[in-house]
Symmetry: C2
Subunit: 732 residues, 2 copies
């Protein structure tokens, strides 16, 4: 971490100089709405790279309703088609008109434009200037899954699945077909999966009719309406899921013969390249035993268990297997079995005796196929970007350089890793067809948004397509510093970020506010613009607060031991780490230790409440948004992974139930909740309010009718002004 810290010191200095120099010209933000100018400024700049994506090894752009392709090798630009061309063909075919070329679907390997009309999916070939395919649907669709290979389209109407013009399922309310399942955990985000050639459709079916309905109420109608949602709470009866396969040609459906689906998870669906089999990662309800299974796609018969993994805490498969494009017999599996997520090459041609091995992270694994670990180290793979088939390389993102960064690497089949970049930045990339070029979208601690086209073989050979140096250019920005502290365990390094008002005076005493999330799968501090400082933190700094943020144990990008430190008692270790951060903060010479606040949302709302109750000697004011209060009210999938069930971990649920600590409240605590929150139901906040009334302590409350787990759209301004005002009223 030395390198990063050094770099940060330099950054801070540079910023200070700049601040002094430009103070006269820059404007102090006076409302939260002004801070939103940053994202609109970025969005405006992004119009110059409208439609940016690969077509083979050329990159596409849409400008003035003209689609062009650029060859990164020589910069040569060719026009592919125009809106007028497309509309001429559409008109001739009598299927309407497009208003803009922007936002249409294009593919890397076809000269095709997919035009979505109500009830009609039309493919236009810009080389032949012809409409080459039309697919009719039973009605105008919302989000749909179109197969480029076959031209079939799968979509939902209500709770049922349709393909093209045909209704495929006919289930009553409570049974969903073709939609995402398991509350989008395990990396699941859709419910239909076309086979490689588009002849077969794998789909999810979920029966949740046995799941208790949570009673949400919509108060915006003439008379308030009851609008329940099925919400399986930890330890309660959960839904059941099946995976079906629909054969478009025959109209026949089979279901994979996976046995009784009660208390099981079917995740990470992928097709074999030959369409003949389907792979799933199956998990038990305890989420401590995963199995990679192969099923025959025609009969549904189970063909074998290729890989198994257990862990005394939990395993969390989130990545479908990916076959090598140059070898249909080998695929990549991703697992954290050695403590960090890494790439493993599995060979379907070479079976091995399925012996159980102890895994480095404390669990076991059993391989039935010959397996080679390709990446290794105390860092983690963040995602496969793609392949270079010619060079037989996998291009991926990882934290190898620093847990704050996402950099690009490649690895060959011998496990030899080559660094493509290692700059202090967070990269998000897409690969050209051959694997030769990257579109590299990234930002750095001092740059809001950059897009380059990079030649992988010579990364220095890059062309910049977009640079937004500072999306808040024109607004006076605070000073930002980064550092590390030792966690409450005395050994683990934790990153923190500290933000000082632009006119910071070391001789003054400032009120300080901690922004916290602290839960799994999120990281607040990274090598993005201003190290990830949020608009609200900048706003608070503009009002004269020192802002502090610490990624405690349990958060993302640090590996399994770091994440699992919180197992079975969520919020407890995290709060201990936050105490370390708070004690550091309050002892800074320029911080007024009698004026410390904290704010967070969701898991961060839980943490905020926890910190106000468990660290009530430190924090005077808190604003907890959409908080989990009692894990028994959270859903099965996420909740039981980290907490087990109330039946098997009663002491953990008791210890972490913040209602039990309501009487500890000494400071001012505002609880905010979306009244339509289907993720973290309002019972959390309202139950906490009741506990506080019972304990005769005085929290405050605000609800956002009509909003779900986040307060989005224009009302976000209202929310952040409310939060800010609460600190202004009580901490200043």
């Amino acid at each position: 971490m030395n390198k990063l810290t050094q770099c940060i010191a330099v950054f801070t200095l540079a910023l200070c100089t700049m601040t002094t120099m430009m103070a006269q010209e820059k404007k102090v933000p006076t409302s939260y709405a002004e801070l939103l100018s940053g994202s609109s400024r970025t969005a405006q700049a992004m119009t110059s790279v409208n439609g940016l994506q690969w077509w083979g090894d050329l990159y596409l752009l849409v400008n003035n309703n003209t689609l062009s392709a650029t060859n990164p090798k020589n910069g040569k630009v060719s026009t592919l088609t125009t809106l007028d061309d497309v509309n001429a063909a559409l008109t001739a075919a009598g299927v309407g008109q497009l208003r803009s070329l922007s936002g249409q679907t294009l593919w890397e390997d076809k000269p095709w434009l997919l035009v979505t009309m109500p009830g009609n999916y039309v493919v236009y070939d810009w080389q032949t200037k012809q409409i080459v395919r039309q697919t009719k649907t039973a009605q105008a669709t919302g989000r749909a899954d179109y197969s480029k290979e076959s031209g079939h389209v799968a979509y939902s109407v209500g709770n049922n699945l349709y393909v093209d013009e045909k209704q495929v399922s006919n289930e009553p309310e409570g049974i969903l077909v073709g939609q995402s399942v398991h509350r989008n955990e395990f990396g699941i985000n859709k419910g239909t999966f076309w086979s490689p050639k588009g002849n077969l459709l794998a789909f999810y079916k979920m029966d949740e009719s046995m799941v208790t309905q949570y009673p949400l109420v919509n108060i915006s109608t003439r008379i308030a309406e009851y609008t329940p949602v099925r919400y399986p709470m930890a330890g309660m009866t959960s839904h059941k899921v099946w995976v079906g396969v629909y054969n478009v040609a025959t109209g026949r459906i089979i279901y994979l013969d996976a046995g009784d689906p009660t208390d099981r998870y079917f995740t990470n669906i992928s097709w074999a390249p030959d369409e003949k089999s389907i792979y799933l990662v199956e998990l038990n309800r305890d989420q401590n035993h995963a199995k990679l299974c192969q099923y025959d796609a025609e009969s549904g018969r189970m063909m074998g268990v290729l890989y198994e993994e257990t862990h005394p805490k939990y395993v969390e498969p989130e990545d479908p297997i990916v076959f090598l494009p140059w070898d249909d017999t080998k695929f990549i599996y991703q697992t954290e079995r050695d403590g960090f997520k890494h790439l493993y090459l599995m060979d379907t041609k070479v079976s091995v005796y399925p012996e159980k091995h102890n895994a480095a992270a404390g669990g076991t694994y059993t391989e039935s196929l010959k397996t080679t670990q390709l990446t290794k180290g105390n860092w983690l793979v963040q995602g496969i970007v793609g392949f270079n088939a010619k060079a037989k390389e996998i291009i991926y993102l990882s934290t190898q350089e620093s847990p704050l960064q996402s950099n690009v690497y490649k690895v060959n089949m011998k496990g030899q890793v080559t660094t493509i970049n290692n700059d202090v930045a967070v990269h998000s990339v897409s690969l050209s067809a051959s694997g030769t070029y990257l579109i590299d979208r990234y930002n750095t601690p001092t740059q809001s948004r950059l897009i380059d086209v990079v030649e992988i073989a010579k990364p220095a050979n890059k062309q910049n397509l977009l640079t937004v140096e500072d999306n808040y250019d024109g607004l006076l920005m605070p000073q930002i510093e980064l550092g590390t502290l030792k966690a409450a365990d005395g050994t683990t390094d934790l990153y923190y970020r500290i933000i000082k008002p632009a006119d910071f005076d070391a001789n003054k005493k400032y009120p300080a506010v901690v922004y916290v999330y602290g839960g799994p799968h999120a990281q607040n501090i990274s090598a993005t613009m201003r190290y990830g400082a949020r608009a609200w933190e900048l706003y608070m700094a503009s009002k004269g607060y020192v802002m502090f943020c610490l990624d405690n144990r349990g958060s993302e990008n640090r590996g399994l031991v770091f994440e699992q430190a919180t197992f079975r008692h969520l919020g407890v270790e995290e709060t201990k780490d936050q105490r370390v951060g708070a004690e550091f903060l309050m002892n800074l010479p320029y911080v007024d230790k009698t004026r410390l606040g904290v704010h967070g949302w969701s898991f961060g709302g839980h943490m905020t409440t926890s910190m106000m109750l468990r660290l009530n000697d430190i924090f005077q004011v808190g604003v907890a948004g959409g908080p989990v209060i009692d894990w028994q009210w959270y859903e099965v999938m996420y909740g039981e992974r980290y907490m087990d069930t109330p039946q098997t971990n009663p002491e953990g649920y008791e210890e972490t139930n913040l209602r039990n600590l309501a009487g500890n409240l000494k400071g001012k605590l505002l609880m905010v909740h979306g009244y339509q929150d289907e993720t973290c139901v309002p019972q959390h906040t309202l139950g906490f309010i009741k506990a506080c009334v019972d304990a005769n302590v005085q929290p405050d409350l605000f609800l956002y009718p009509g909003h779900q787990h986040g307060v989005s759209g224009k009302d976000a301004v209202h929310l952040y002004e409310k939060i800010t005002q609460y600190f202004e009223d009580h901490l200043k």
Copy 2:
């Protein structure tokens, strides 16, 4: 009003002297809970008059489980029975044991004690020391209606009616039998009515299955539960009501033949003394046309319309007719037709031609019986206390002396009124059997609780049974003044009360808070202890606030014109009157006009919100509890009386909808609501919050899960500390 004002001046002076004198010894209340000591102190003192009621012309008391009777004429006390005696008889009969003589039912005209055992109503005669009657019920009952005459008992199990051991009705959910109807408006507070001899039971049946359910949610269960209530909102489909008569001997039920019950109200049920007929006051949904109807109790046939009344605004019958005890052919009807509620004697023997007359208050009336107005004047009758059959007099309470007082009067059949008392006090009395004596419970501006036994013929001849001079004796109390202001109409006198901190210093500037209700059927300022100042007002005064209260037009005890000034635009005139009060208040030399607050609950919550929005140039801080925000969300019975329907009065509903004014919010406004409020549903507050978010203004919110329209029990302390804290945080 001169007399009252004079008296008040004296009172204030006396209090000042006392305050100075006793300041050292008295304690400043430091929590709202301490103010509750007052009611517990009163309750404790009241144990000395345990069981006080009439038995003939002797008054009963229960002391040490001994029932005694006292003759007020000579003070002679006789023991009637003891707990041991009663238990001996109960044990002999094998029907259990009583734990205490307190709280049992006794009657004025029988030597009987009604003992309620689970499933058994037992009557003990203390003269014969025998159990003289037992009535078994199908199961243990809650609130039940026992007929002293026949010994039958009527009660509810769920939504159905039972009599003795028999289930009388068998209706599905949504139909209630034998319970109060029309949401307790029109003076209705029960659903069963025994005939004078106890042979027949008139009862209400209400079908509300067609009424929309309002979706309340109970968050105190493992998973929050949907607990809807049928709530007919203004202008929407309402329930239907029938009146049935159950004949205990035959088991037969007939329903009164009143025609289609759609959009009609059946109110003020009473029996003819001979049990042969039943009287109802029937109203149309518009509530502008009332009819006193007589029905045959055996056939249900309508026998005639005895009296009709209309008013262009509304009529509001709230008093069943009462027959003269010495003449079964005459009864008393009460109406506000001349602008003030008065007693009218109607003679069932003398029919008159039913000609329509113009009434003094602007409506019409049509009498079919010879009618004599017994009381008359610009004051109102507050209730019939009883009769002196020998002297042929009616004893009643009225505001004849002052609208702030309730005094006792009698009137003979010629309309000659005699004053029994006229002191500055609020009396609540019960009459001995002959009408000779009163038990007189009252309080005065300087006395918390008094009970006298008074000889009506010589009111000076009284015996004091209880005196609680000051239930806050020991706590330092503020100074209280009364006065009048001209209403916004420039002519009407309005009463106000002002409370100054105990250590008031005329040279200081105090923050001031208005306590407001302002709706019909309530009066905040009266000749009770401290002129009706509430514990919370005293608490606020102890914290250094000047407290102010004004009974605006629309409130109680001032007659029909005063009340109806608000018709079809509730909250508008009231707020104009409150502006008069606020401008008076802010111009007081010791009030800091930049620090004005307001608080009220229910209609007072509506007023508080209205004042924060319409008088946003005056009020900085408000706390609105359980408010009506939009009258379309209030119920049919009350709402349409004052507002008509949203269909017939769209402009009135629009004008009074406080959501439309949300954008006017400039100050700090806390909205508080019971989350189980079935009277004023949570949609009001939550809908207002949504309107404020939409208008980008910042109110605050608090909900009390588990509480209905009031926050009662121990949580009242939490509520009043919360309200107080809000003013402390933002007004001080």
